[in-house]
Symmetry: C2
Subunit: 276 residues, 2 copies
């Protein structure tokens, strides 16, 4: 593993690291914020999964996460959104291929050899973090924005017991019913739609739910709201009687100006679950 940068930030350290990934079969880069408390022993870990076109860097520099993580004494990891490199398949559209891994294990060509973001985020990266940093693997929580909100919700509901809390900013909430989803799930997972279902937060919410607190924020002026389908997730939460807070935030759009506005609420929410 290679250290690309480390900057002091809110009393802790914002690092960027690169490592050869056996899961994605390419080098992968991630950001990790460690609070000051990590000098004294393992701290809880919050996952932040990013959206389409993003790398590990976007949220790390624009979301204002570190100050609240420092206040809560928790680490935050910012994984990349896909495998990358000249040897890795890609697509000219922004919403497929590199920068658009959708947090699934691809089974279809040309994606199958590298696009295994599910296993990368669920298995390889957590093991690496627990081994190399002062992280307590028994105290993890997860959040994300847009495609990353989809990843956070589906990982949390598919891996019961892994995460103590889950939240999302403007998640792709019902990909099996949206142009942000059907195209990608077909490309990565094939024509059999039953393989898609565990990667749909609204389906998973109806069928499994989440044993812990749930927080969702969605801007009412989000330019992609018809693709995100928060209505499907809201209905599933209500049908399941899932304890959850879902907030429609007046006038906010899909940008990081929206994410940063509500970041304090999300990190505090996770901090309370992680330290409970």
């Amino acid at each position: 593993m290679e250290t690309l940068s480390e900057n002091r930030c809110f009393g802790g350290t914002q690092g960027v690291y690169r490592h050869p990934s056996t899961t994605c079969r390419c080098d992968m880069t991630f950001g990790l914020f460690l609070p000051e408390e990590a000098n004294d022993g393992p701290v809880p870990l919050l996952w932040y999964l990013s959206g389409l076109t993003c790398t590990h860097e976007n949220a790390m520099i624009k979301a204002g996460t570190q100050q609240w993580a420092a206040e809560q004494g928790i680490a935050v990891v910012f994984p990349d959104t896909s495998p990358r490199g000249d040897d890795v398949a890609d697509d000219p559209e922004y919403d497929l291929g590199q920068g658009a891994g959708f947090y699934v294990n691809a089974t279809q060509d040309p994606w199958a050899p590298h696009f295994r973001m599910w296993d990368y985020v669920a298995e390889e990266l957590p093991a690496l973090l627990a081994e190399r940093f002062a992280i307590d693997p028994d105290r993890q929580a997860i959040t994300g924005h847009s495609m990353g909100g989809h990843g956070a919700l589906t990982l949390a509901m598919n891996l019961p017991g892994r995460f103590r809390s889950v939240s999302a900013f403007a998640p792709i909430a019902n990909p099996t019913g949206s142009d942000w989803g059907r195209k990608q799930l077909r490309a990565y997972l094939g024509e059999d739609e039953t393989a898609w279902l565990r990667h749909d937060a609204s389906v998973m919410m109806r069928e499994a739910g989440f044993d812990g607190p749930v927080l969702i924020d969605q801007g009412t002026a989000d330019q992609f709201i018809d693709l995100l389908r928060p209505d499907a997730l809201a209905a599933a939460i209500a049908e399941r009687r899932q304890p959850a807070t879902m907030r429609m935030q007046k006038g906010y759009d899909h940008s990081y100006f929206f994410v940063s506005t509500f970041m304090e609420d999300h990190v505090t929410f996770h901090g309370e679950a992680l330290w409970a």
Copy 2:
């Protein structure tokens, strides 16, 4: 004036605007955060001047300024750092020409026709803001980072009565004695070094000082600290008996991870002066 974007952010609006500048004789772009209170009437204004290579955008997305400005009920303007365009002179080095205006009025060719950032920030842009937005021109404060900290300090001390408070993050504090300064002041202002003196914060501090509160933060691990020369400014503050707080922050470097860490302190400091 053209609106390039407006995003809801911490209850207010983060806008980006472009206008033809008569001072710089080119189109200029700036960011402006207006808090919710601006809907009801004019609010105080904090200037944030950026550093070398930056545009209006860097601090707007990376410094975490808006949340504290929203809390204080003050506007923040993020000007660009130089004139720009194909017709505008430039230099292959990052520290001269476009992105490196140094907040002076150039008198030397090829810079003189467009590089008038002093007048742009001191005259044209404040008049435009007061005319077009809910800004109270009687309540202004100023801050900046690196080259922008130099601009903030020199503008504040050269325009007594204009700004109620001044602060800076890792300012270029003594440009007449540094490779970050001598090259640029010679290029823009010519060989006569007496014309440089009002653009040196340490010289101005010794000769004029500032009638109001002053706050400076400087990281001890700043990779550019020898170019910034905080020692010269610290000595000048002490010699003048200038009321000021200058903090050497252990382990912080020159990045926006440093700036964002201490942004709350700076915006709160200015808010207290602006609402006093």
